[in-house]
Amino acid sequence: MSGSPADVKLVGNAMANATRRKIMAMLIENNRNKEEIEKAVGASMLDYHIQMLQQAGLIEQKESTLVLTDFGKNFTETRAEKPVEVKKNLTGTKPIDIVEIRQLLPCIADKTKFRIIARMEPSLGGALKLLEPLFPRARYSEKINALIIQKGNVLLTIYSTGNVTMTMIKNQEEATQILEDIRRAVNDAIVKGITPVPREKVKVDHNEIYEYLPKTNCQICGEQSCYSFAIKLVSRDTELAKCTPLLDAKYSTNLEHLQAIMEYL
């Protein structure tokens, strides 16, 4: 693999499939023959998946055994699911600019608020993960290669490709202001290095969860009250999905927030 853009795409698309990710995970543990893999992932289209991984240069066949190539090993060591080059520091990362605020879509939950899509250039790529400590409430999602930042009611998702989406925005000015804050924080970090900010309430307490629950004490979840449900959520004795009233459209923003909060438990 030369690492050319075409190769990078080939690897990315090869890893955008659950069966192939499973095969890769098996090969990280040990070299396997086809029968072992077939037992785990099923026989259907197995040849095709193996061929895709071989084309991407991630695995190779040695007699009857499938092994990771050096490139494959290197790729899996970064633990990246997509071919974003993972960086160790911000050296070489260029300052970003907000080049476009493309579209305003009304939020489903609250028609007076908007969803914003913007674009930052140049895209941050593998440096994005390093920026997680810059924000009091942020987490990096390996699955979609995106940094998800919570600012009050606003949920902001920065993709490694440079696209940015925001929910619950009042107006374009607010969007511009938030994007400008992010831009400044990122560009400062590029110049001065990353100074982690104190994590905001890393330990989530039940009161915070309770704030976003319907507070109807309907007992559908099997608990006496929403408050006791919140307590059990914190102790992981129950799960958010049991609160079915949250699926109601009027609670959709609450649900989005609860899902974000639960990530910190």
Binding site: M45, Q103, L247
Partner: protein
Amino acid sequence: MKTVFYLQDSAPYGSEKVYGALNAAIVCIKMGVTLGLYEDGVYLALAGQNSKPLGVPNLADILYAYPDLNVLAHEPSLNARGLMMESLIETVELVDEIDFLNAMEASDFVVLL
């Protein structure tokens, strides 16, 4: 909870079909929805779409705006169109023939516009 599978086999900008299906899928997000891209529908998975010259909404923006929408692209359709070497939208999951079919069968409803 009932689940819905929106089967989309039309190219994104040839008609309003995909725009309609996308919006219909988005309002169902809370009830477990999958958007399945099949045949010419897989063109929606391509990154870097620019709909400005057409004067219509950018459908890729809608996918980015709702990262929690489960989008499956039928890989053999991508392959047949020579799209496996193209950059795809990050939130799209590629699935083979069998998994695509399984996802459809596992849904309570399949909607084909």
